[in-house]
Amino acid sequence: MRIFNVCLVDGVHFNKEEVHYIKQRTGVIAPVRRANITDRNGVVVATNLPTVNLFTKPKRVSNPSLIAKKLNEIFPDISYEDFLIKLTKKSSFVYLRRNISPQQQAKVNALGFPELEFQPSEIRVYPQKELLAHVLGNTDIDNVGIAGIEKTLNDRLTNSTKDLRLTIDLGIQYAIRDELIKAKEEYMAERATAILMDINTSEVVALASVPDYDLNKRDFKDKDIKFNFATLGVYEAGSVFKVFNTALGLDSGKIKIHDKFDARFPLKMGRHKITDYRVPPKWLSVGETLIHSSNIASAQMALKVGKDLQIKFFKNLGFWDKIQNLEIFEKGKPIHRSEKYWLDHTVATAAFGYGISVTPMHIITAFSSILNGGIYTPPTLVIDHSQRQSKRVISKQTSLDMRKLLRDVVIEGSGKNANIDGYEVAGKTGTANKIVDGRYIKGKNVTSFVSAFPISNPKYALMVIIDDPKPTKKTFGFVTSGWNACPTGGRIIARIAPQLNIKPNFDTSTQREKILEKYGIRN
């Protein structure tokens, strides 16, 4: 029999399943069809798990009402009527329920209906639930990316089974999200967002925006929680732009660090007046302009530098277009006037962050380039991203000057609440009127704090944005950035800096005295 089978039957016959295995063996098909995504330390944040789809061929179904009743008992979330419609459909194939659990499969098997068949399938799961919601995005029921990295890198994730390693550090991401949740609650804000970036490589180490959502629930209805403010939220950042304005002034050579600007009176620009908020009316140096966050002095600086250089600089910093190369689908396009209509008053208002709207990702990337020695590198969320090209945007000397100026803002200016002892924080606050339906809404603000630490040798840049914070007793009724975004930034830095292995730079003699005093060795 064996001789007959082997010698006379034509060759070796493989069933469908075996052909599938052979294709796997030759690399045509992978056993799991979508690659894992991991954080920078290799912790899996998205993976595929095997499941089973329940299907039938309606033409073969003999007793649809009985089957529908029994299935409804196993799957109470699908009504009897729905099952009945599916079972009596005039089609050759219909899914009754996709991605069922092994327990449900066993129950269906136990019903003993031969019409009910199973098909092996896979489901995308996100073990960290909401932690990376806005970064990862999601897949649809057919495992095709529909948002975030899942969408942008859909081909990469389906063509290779090699894990995709992100630049995100899960521990840091958790710490930042945790602080954002607290801040959102404390300031009764609509939204809180933060980005942590490696200042030298522009790798995004954490990106969180709350409210967020559990990726496994696949609830696509609430668009508000799906909104990734960090990369999609285009807004006027306010005084944060004074960083770029000052850097441009110094780098152009048209402003010297000891130049002074008259901030005693409002600056008239046609029909409009540029005023200051709680700034001493006097001549201000470049440093004082940043410390007191003077709109008047900043506008004068910008006017001195001029339209052409300002536009060229903003283009260099990436403010003119969507963020290039970032592996996330949701990217906001900056809003600004065209070059033709970029008139003097736009030059003046852009100096303090009005008249140009960009995303937080634009700002933190540009900010990193200002403080890292002057090199702009496009941001990335994927380790080993090779297609990024860095360019110089300011000189090293200007960058060093900016470090000193921004450190002073945190020591003496509006950034005081982020002055974390030992971590040499440098940064700039920004408060801007919120625009709703194209109009500024009085009393509603978006506050920002952009910072770098430790400034003597900057390693990380952090940006915190609080959308519509409310005044509280603790903030003495203020809603400006120094009272909400800034302290939130400080708390985040104090919490993550030890995790990031950054050694605090204390004055050792003071610290020594403190320790001796604490333990009673000194009086």
Partner: protein, 119 residues
Amino acid sequence: MSNVKTAISVLWVMFTFVIGAYYFVLTNDVQNLEKELAQINRDIENDIRDIHILEADWSELNNPERLKNLAGKYISLDFIKPEQIINYSVLPLDGELFEKPTMLAKNKKGVRMLANTER
């Protein structure tokens, strides 16, 4: 002559038989190996699926919030504060610990903590 023909025929028959037997053994082996390979591939696929499940499970177990809650519950660990990270040179020398014996006696507990914990 007919003997030669017979001998050649016998040789041909024998040759055909040997070739046939060899073909049978070879095909049989190949089929067995293919089946074995299919089984191995099936096992590999099952293993890969199991690994995916375990990786997902491991990732969930390593959820930072869960770890934080467990650490708080069982080992009372909290976040490191910047002032807890100090340079070795900041610590008092042994001589300093004993330079004021009366004070040392007063603050025995503090010194012991310093000596045991911070070093």
